[in-house]
């Protein structure tokens, strides 16, 4: 008996040590690139950095991204909905069965009423809790969702404006806020807007963390939610600090003020490595392209010129320029991705073939083609736009392509993106350099290649119009079995690559640097991370 006690006593510390990561462990201080704390009312701003830090950790959506693996593209999995299906008799009606036993941070239950309430907050202008601020951040990411209806306590029906197989992917952006908590805020607020502001200061979602301290523009502190319905977070606390300046972020990490920084500048990476910092990166569903103008006056309306550009760019040289912090883009989706398909046009660096195609189109070094590109000097997701574009400009000169840049401010470039290449704001540009997320096929394919999406309706800036692509889009949106939908999206993507509908250049790899004390982080092939996984050792 004594021996057994001694053995247990000896093994106890080891057992405790082994179990530590499962218990709440440490505070992770994160330096974000945003200049302010992303909105905390359930529909974050600041792009996907907002979803990453104040969306997914505080809230859940009906569907969620699987962020647990680094070795494969993130796919959609059940979140607050356990399962879903499109109604075979009415393809605009979807049935979502909800996860039982889930509570909001305030203790109120998550159910079908909560889903309907959250849909109405952005889609029903008559709803008392309708919030225009959240409309722009949410409705744009669910372009076909129209309304929700309660079927029973744990089942809800969602209706779309047209058959749309992409809805479950879109729904990863609709975070569920607590109606009960909002009503409590509303009781003490002068208006619905004021109630949402109060809600943002003390939010209630169902996520793995709850907000415990919020200092506007300075910090947000999130504490682990021990009542979380899924796998609980390993870290006890996450502190978010907005540090928009890249050098300041690097200095903060090196001086020990933070444990984790987003997007260190490529120049700082060797220094960070030399100081034993971990650098995490993985190709993201992000595309840094030149989007062509297809109007007849544009030289890029000729597929041979578009293909020549795709073949002439030295992407490996560009990768060297960025210190390895990019992935060459050979399409919107890399080979092996479920939506990549099998294009017959193989994007690569082949300057001889590029010259041949240009000659066929009537251009040569003696009679070069001139292409004007609208670019920005900076901007979210734009990586290092000036040096990257200048590198490409020099590179393309060798095959007889003259590139001219129209450098404009980032916000102005966004505005122009909605106007289309025929608009005065394009100032005669033949291409525009705006990076985009490729997580959702609507945003990576449909809005660029569907003729109905031509500017100013959406971001078909190039005014591309081809009935074949409209058909392919329709097939994808009407394929309700996941395998059939993936195959249809693959056909759409492959056709786009064959027609060289973009000049594909780079994928961002989402670099982030961390102190050696941060353990357990998984860098998924996604814009998001699972903050439940890392902890401090």
């Amino acid at each position: 008996m004594r021996l057994r006690h001694m053995l247990m006593a000896a093994l106890l510390p080891a057992a405790l040590l082994a179990s530590q990561p499962a218990a709440a462990q440490g505070t992770i201080r994160i330096g974000m690139t945003a200049a302010d704390i992303p909105l905390t009312h359930g529909q974050p701003d600041q792009g996907f950095e907002g979803n990453r830090f104040t969306g997914i950790p505080l809230y859940d959506a009906l569907t969620a991204w699987d962020l647990s693996r680094a070795d494969r593209p993130s796919t959609v999995q059940p979140g607050l909905a356990l399962s879903w299906e499109s109604d075979a008799t009415d393809r605009t009606r979807w049935i979502f069965r909800l996860r039982p036993g889930v509570s909001f941070h305030d203790g109120s239950p998550f159910n079908a009423d909560a889903v309907v309430w959250n849909v109405r907050k952005v889609l029903d202008r008559e709803a008392p809790h309708y919030d225009p601020r959240q409309v722009g951040l949410t409705a744009s990411r669910m372009p076909t969702l129209r309304r929700a209806e309660k079927v029973d306590d744990m089942t809800v029906a969602l209706f779309t404006s047209e058959p749309d197989s992409l809805l479950p992917i879109n729904l990863t952006n609709l975070f569920m806020a607590s109606p009960t908590h909002w009503e409590r805020m509303r009781a003490n607020a002068a208006s619905a807007e004021a109630a949402w502001n109060a809600f943002a200061a003390s939010p209630s979602g169902t996520g793995p963390f709850r907000l415990t301290r919020f200092v506007p523009r300075e910090r947000a502190e999130m504490t682990r939610n021990d009542a979380y319905w899924g796998e609980k977070a390993r870290a006890e606390r996450i502190v978010l600090l907005p540090i928009p300046e890249a050098n300041a972020r690097t200095a903060a990490l090196l001086s020990g003020q933070v444990d984790w920084i987003e997007a260190p500048s490529p120049d700082a990476v060797p220094q960070l490595r030399a100081r034993q910092m971990q650098i995490a990166s993985n190709p993201q569903p992000h595309v840094w392209p030149w989007q062509p103008c297809f109007l007849p006056s544009s030289p890029l309306s000729d597929v041979r010129v578009r293909r020549a550009l795709n073949l002439a760019i030295d992407r490996e040289g560009l990768r060297t320029l960025l210190g390895g912090m990019m992935q060459p883009a050979l399409g919107t989706y890399p080979a092996g991705h479920p939506w990549a398909g099998t294009p017959s046009f193989q994007i690569r660096t082949d300057k001889a073939e590029a010259r041949r195609l240009l000659a066929e189109a009537g251009f040569s070094p003696q009679r070069p083609v001139t292409i004007k590109v609208q670019i920005s000097a900076s901007g979210s997701g734009q990586m290092q736009p000036l040096p990257m574009n200048e590198f490409i400009q020099q590179d393309l000169r060798s095959v007889g392509i003259n590139i001219e840049f129209d450098v404009i401010e980032w916000n102005a470039l966004f505005t122009n993106w909605r106007n289309g290449c025929g608009h005065a704001s394009a100032r005669g540009a033949h291409a525009i350099n705006v990076s985009f997320s490729a997580m959702d096929p609507f945003f990576s394919l449909v809005r660029f290649w569907d003729s109905k999406m031509a500017a100013p309706v959406s971001n078909n800036w190039g005014m591309f119009n081809d009935p074949r692509f409209d058909r392919l889009v329709s097939e994808a949106r009407n394929a309700f079995e996941p395998a059939a939908r993936d195959a249809a999206l693959g056909r759409l993507h492959a056709a786009g690559v064959d027609e060289a509908l973009f000049i594909w250049i780079a994928h961002d790899v989402g670099p982030r640097a961390m102190s050696p004390r941060v353990r357990g982080h998984v860098q998924p092939q996604s814009w998001f991370v699972d903050l439940r996984l890392p902890f401090i050792q």
Partner: protein, 317 residues
């Protein structure tokens, strides 16, 4: 004096209107769209238009300006387009932080500037004068954001003596004057102080040197006053002009430095303006500039009044 004071306060009204109008128009003329502060760039047009209507951004510009002005008159600077928070809430905390930084930078810059300028002016042409002048020229010439980065690399990264960023271990909300917080202030305050230090040094040197050559100083010497007693007379004569320069510098510092506050992530008005500019957050931009402009007007008035008190020869109409 009272009439003068009332007049100056009344003058501030057209200044406020002009500042508000110019700021409003500048934002409108600049390329880009304030709607980008609220909707992502990939939002469909129907969503963009709906949000534009919801926020009243579809109304004619004069109507938008009049609506904004109507609220400002009632003391409401509106709500941020980007965050929905009242502008005054964010602005008041930012002003508090900038004030802290500006006062610390002023203290360093003005004290150093007066000492160096006083020495240089008193001992004109000496090695002391050359050293002080070199400091002054360096102060006004060195880009302060560069100096800030160098200070961070040396004192926060290489020698981990001081924090690299932020306004306290828990942010500025719980600011207290203890070392844990003050250490966050040291590097940005030093960085921000170099320009006023240089300007004040040069100004004080010039004024002192000029006064030292005046006949009354020769007379004081002839009367047998000590060097220190003469210096006090010189200081009293130099003070009004030096104060005017310091007042202007303090005004600039109060306006916040976008670059220094960005380098140190110091949550002041500079950082607030920086993000408002990039997001085209009109209410924040207009409210901040208006308040800062009024602050500048008030500061100038205050300096004028002190000048009058110090030097009764300065008459106010």
């Amino acid at each position: 004096m009272l009439v003068y004071l009332v007049k100056r306060v009344l003058y501030a009204i057209p200044i406020a209107l002009a500042v508000g109008f110019v700021c409003f128009m500048l934002v409108q003329i600049a390329p880009g769209d304030p709607i980008n502060a609220i909707v992502p760039p990939d939002a469909p047009q129907e969503v963009v238009e709906q949000v534009r209507r919801d926020y009243g951004l579809d109304k004619p510009l004069p109507v938008q300006f009049a609506l904004w002005l109507g609220k400002v008159v009632q003391g409401d600077l509106g709500r941020s387009l980007a965050t929905g928070r009242p502008v005054w809430g964010d602005l008041s905390s930012a002003i508090g932080n900038t004030l802290t930084l500006a006062l610390a930078a002023s203290l360093i810059g003005f004290v150093l500037g007066c000492v160096l300028g006083g020495l240089a002016g008193t001992f004109r042409g000496s090695i002391l004068d050359r050293v002080a002048t070199t400091f002054a020229v360096a102060g006004v010439s060195v880009p302060h954001y560069w100096l800030g980065m160098v200070l961070v690399v040396v004192f926060a990264v290489q020698l981990p003596w001081l924090p690299a960023m932020g306004a306290g271990p828990g942010g500025s909300a719980d600011w207290v004057w203890d070392w844990a917080h003050i250490q966050h202030l040291v590097l940005p305050a030093i960085t921000l102080s170099v320009i006023p230090m240089g300007i004040v040094t040069r100004t004080v040197r010039g004024i002192i040197a000029e006064i030292m050559n005046q006949e009354f100083v020769v007379a004081l010497r002839g009367k047998g006053l000590t060097r220190f007693a003469i210096f006090l007379h010189v200081v009293k004569n130099a003070a009004p002009n030096a104060l005017a320069v310091m007042g202007l510098q303090l005004g600039y510092l109060m306006g916040g430095s976008i670059l220094v506050e960005t380098v140190f992530s110091w949550p002041g008005t500079g950082l607030l303006l920086n993000s408002a500019i990039f997001q085209r957050d009109m209410p924040v931009l207009q409210g901040t500039i208006l308040v800062l402009a009024m602050f500048f007007v008030a500061l100038n008035l205050f300096v004028d009044l002190i000048q009058t008190t110090l030097d009764p020869r300065i008459k106010r109409a």
